[in-house]
C-alpha cells in the first residue's frame, strides 16, 4: 500500500526461508479462494479467463449465487407486509442482511443502513433529499477532480435546482488530492463535501480522515463515495466519522442492483423521503401521510430482497477471509505488477499516489488504449479501456483514455505475468 514498502521489496528483497514460505502459503490460499468463483474456471478463445476488470464489477463466489437461488426456491415472499410464515422469513433474512452490512462498516445502528440500488442511487438520494431541502443559491459543495461521474452529475443537477456552486479540489501529477487547496476551499458557504474514498481510475486512497476533520471543524458534513474502497480496505464509519458512506454490492462480490447508503441517524432523521410509495409510510390518508421510521422512510416500494440476501452472504464471505488478508494479497499484486510495468519504457502509469489500492491505469506511447484492450481481450485478459466515467480526470492528465487493470482477491502473479507478456507482444505488433 505504501510506495516505501514497494521500494524495499524492489531493492532490498531477500529470498530468505520465511519469505519463500509466506509466498507458498499465499499461493495456496489464493488457489483455494479461486475455487469459490465458478467463472474463473471458464475459457475465452481457448484460453483461461484472466479477469482484471474488478473495479467495474467483481466476480461472484458460488455461495452468493447459491444464496440468491436458495432464497427464491425456499423463502421468496414480500417483506414487512404479510402475516404469513414465508413473509416473516423473507423479512428476517432481509433484515439480517442489513445487520451484516452494519457490522461490515461498523455503523452504530442497523437503521443507518439504507438499501439502495448502488453507489449512484445512494449519492442521488443524498443530493435530492439532504441537499435539495436545505441548499440555497450561493451555497458551495466541494468535490474533487478525481470523482466518478456519479459523484459529479448528481451535484450538478442539485446546483441547477438550487443555485448552489461546485468547488473542485485539484489532483497532483502523482494522483493525490491537494489538501492545502481543499482547506482553502472550505468556508462559511460550504454545505457539503463529497469525495471518493478510493479513486476508481488512479487507485489513490484519499486521506479521508483528514478531509473529514477539516470539514467538521467548520461544521460541514462529508459524504464518502466508497465504491472502490469497500472490498479493498477495512472501513469503519464510526472511526472515520463520515456523515454518509455510499457503496455498491456488485463491487464487493455481491449481486448487481443492490447497494448501501450509510448515514448518521440524526441526519437521516431530519431528511425528507427521497421517493414516495409503499413501505416508506406509517399511515396514509388523502389529507396527510406520516412517514415511516428509519430505514424504511428511504426504502419506498418492494426492495431487492434477493439482492440483499446475496449481498449479506458476500459480506459473510469477505469477513471469513478477512480484509487484512485481502489487503495484503492485493498489495503484493500491486507491487509486483507496478514493478514489471515500470520496466516497459513506452508505458506510463497514470496515478502514483503514495497510498494506493490494486488499480493501475496506464497509457503506452504509440498504442491507443482501445487497441491494447482488443489485443488483450483476444488473449482472454479482461481489462477496462476508456475514461472510466472520469472524463474531467482524463482531461487533467491530458489523455483521451487509459487502460485500467484492477485486482481482486482471486488474482495471481501468474496472471500478471500473462498480462505483462501480452503487453510486450502488443508492443511488438504495434512497433
Amino acid at each position: 500500500m505504501k510506495m516505501g514498502e514497494f521500494h524495499m521489496n524492489k531493492h532490498g528483497g531477500t529470498n530468505d526461508a520465511s519469505t519463500v514460505e509466506s509466498e507458498i502459503t499465499n499461493h495456496l490460499l489464493v488457489q483455494h479462494w479461486r475455487k469459490d468463483f465458478p467463472i474463473l474456471h471458464t475459457s475465452l478463445y481457448g484460453k483461461p479467463l484472466v479477469y482484471f476488470d474488478n473495479a467495474a464489477t467483481t466476480q461472484k463466489p458460488s455461495i452468493v449465487i447459491e444464496a440468491e437461488n436458495h432464497y427464491y426456491r425456499h423463502t421468496n415472499a414480500n417483506v414487512h407486509r404479510g402475516i404469513h410464515t414465508l413473509s416473516q422469513q423473507a423479512t428476517e433474512v432481509f433484515e439480517s442482511a442489513r445487520g451484516k452490512l452494519r457490522q461490515l462498516i461498523n455503523a452504530r445502528h442497523d437503521h443507518e443502513i439504507i438499501f439502495v440500488r448502488g453507489t449512484t442511487e445512494a449519492i442521488n438520494l443524498v443530493a435530492q433529499s439532504y441537499g435539495r431541502s436545505r441548499f440555497k443559491a450561493g451555497d458551495e459543495i466541494i468535490i474533487s477532480a478525481m470523482e466518478h461521474h456519479s459523484n459529479i452529475v448528481p451535484w450538478q443537477m442539485l446546483c441547477q435546482q438550487t443555485g448552489a456552486i461546485l468547488r473542485v479540489v485539484p489532483v497532483s501529477d502523482a494522483g493525490e488530492l491537494d489538501i492545502n487547496v481543499y482547506q482553502s476551499l472550505l468556508n462559511k458557504k460550504t454545505k457539503l463535501v463529497a469525495i471518493s474514498h478510493v479513486s476508481n481510475t488512479l487507485g489513490s486512497i484519499n486521506p479521508v480522515k483528514t478531509i473529514i476533520n477539516y470539514a467538521h471543524a467548520k461544521h460541514v458534513p462529508v459524504l464518502l463515495d466508497g465504491a472502490q474502497a469497500i472490498a479493498h480496505l477495512p472501513v469503519d464509519v464510526q472511526d472515520l466519522d463520515c456523515d454518509f458512506y455510499a457503496f455498491s454490492g456488485h463491487k464487493l462480490y455481491g449481486p448487481t442492483g443492490i447497494g448501501v447508503l450509510y448515514g448518521k441517524a440524526d441526519l437521516l432523521d431530519e431528511m425528507p423521503p427521497y421517493q414516495g410509495g409503499g413501505d416508506m409510510i406509517s399511515s396514509v390518508s388523502f389529507e396527510a401521510t406520516t412517514y415511516n421510521k428509519l430505514p424504511y422512510k428511504f426504502e419506498a416500494g418492494t426492495p431487492n430482497i434477493a439482492g440483499a440476501v446475496g449481498l449479506g452472504t458476500a459480506v459473510d464471505y469477505l469477513s471469513a477471509i478477512g480484509l487484512d488478508a485481502i489487503v495484503k494479497h492485493e498489495d503484493s499484486l500491486l507491487n509486483y505488477a507496478s514493478e514489471l510495468m515500470t520496466n516497459i519504457p513506452e508505458l506510463r502509469i497514470i496515478g502514483n499516489a503514495r497510498h494506493k489500492t490494486g488499480i493501475i491505469s496506464y497509457v503506452m506511447a504509440g498504442v491507443h488504449p482501445h487497441d491494447i484492450g482488443t489485443f488483450l481481450d483476444r488473449q482472454a485478459i479482461a481489462v477496462r479501456t476508456g475514461h472510466h466515467c472520469t472524463m474531467p480526470l482524463m482531461e487533467r492528465f491530458g489523455v483521451p483514455a487509459t487502460v485500467r487493470i484492477s485486482f481482486a482477491l482471486y488474482n495471481t502473479k501468474n496472471e500478471i505475468d500473462k498480462l505483462v507478456s501480452a503487453i510486450y507482444q502488443a508492443r511488438e505488433l504495434f512497433k
Binding site: 498504442v367 491507443h368 488504449p369 482501445h370 487497441d371 482488443t374 489485443f375 483476444r378 479501456t385 476508456g386 475514461h387 482524463m394 489523455v399 483521451p400 483514455a401 505488433l429 504495434f430
Partner: protein
C-alpha cells in the same frame, strides 16, 4: 490471434502511423466534428464541396489505430466523388464492417473488413464516416457514435 492479424493489417498500421490528408482545409465550406465517448476518439473533418463534388477533404483528431486508419483511408477514397456517391459508399462501408454482404468492390477500404470479428470496434471504424455524413449536411453539432 488470426483475427487480430486480420484486423491489424499492415495497411492499417501504415495509415495509423502516417495518416493521409491530415490537417484542416483552409477554404473548407463543410465541416463536422465526431466523437466516440467510449474510447475518447475525436475526429474533425473539413471538406470543399463544389457543384456536388468533393474536391478536397482533410481530417484531424486523436484515436485508436482503427479509427485513424479508417479516417485516412476514407479521405483517400472520397476525393473526386459526388456527395451522393459518398453517402452510398458510407452505406457499403457500414455493411462491410458489420459483416453484411457487400456486392461492390470497395478497393482499399476492404482492408477494414477484419473489424467484422470485433463488434466492439465497429464504432471506431465508422466514426469518420458518420462525421462525413454530418459534414455533408454541414451540421455544426458534434456527432457521437453513442
Amino acid at each position: 490471434m488470426n483475427d487480430l492479424r486480420d484486423l491489424y493489417q499492415d495497411m492499417i498500421f501504415d495509415h495509423y502511423r502516417q495518416p493521409r490528408n491530415y490537417g484542416q482545409l483552409e477554404n473548407a465550406n463543410h465541416k463536422a466534428e465526431g466523437y466516440n465517448p467510449l474510447c475518447g476518439d475525436k475526429v474533425s473533418l473539413t471538406l470543399t464541396l463544389k457543384d456536388g463534388v468533393i474536391h478536397d477533404l482533410k481530417f484531424e483528431g486523436s484515436g485508436c489505430a482503427i479509427s485513424t486508419a479508417s479516417a485516412s483511408l476514407m479521405t483517400e477514397a472520397l476525393k473526386g466523388k459526388t456527395a451522393e456517391e459518398a453517402l452510398s459508399m458510407l452505406e457499403d462501408f457500414k455493411a462491410l464492417v458489420t459483416g453484411a454482404s457487400v456486392a461492390k468492390d470497395m478497393g482499399k477500404l476492404t482492408v477494414l473488413a477484419g473489424v467484422q470479428a470485433f463488434p466492439q470496434r465497429v464504432k471506431c471504424a465508422t466514426l469518420a464516416w458518420h462525421t462525413l455524413q454530418a459534414a455533408l449536411k454541414s451540421s455544426t453539432e458534434p456527432v457521437t457514435t453513442e
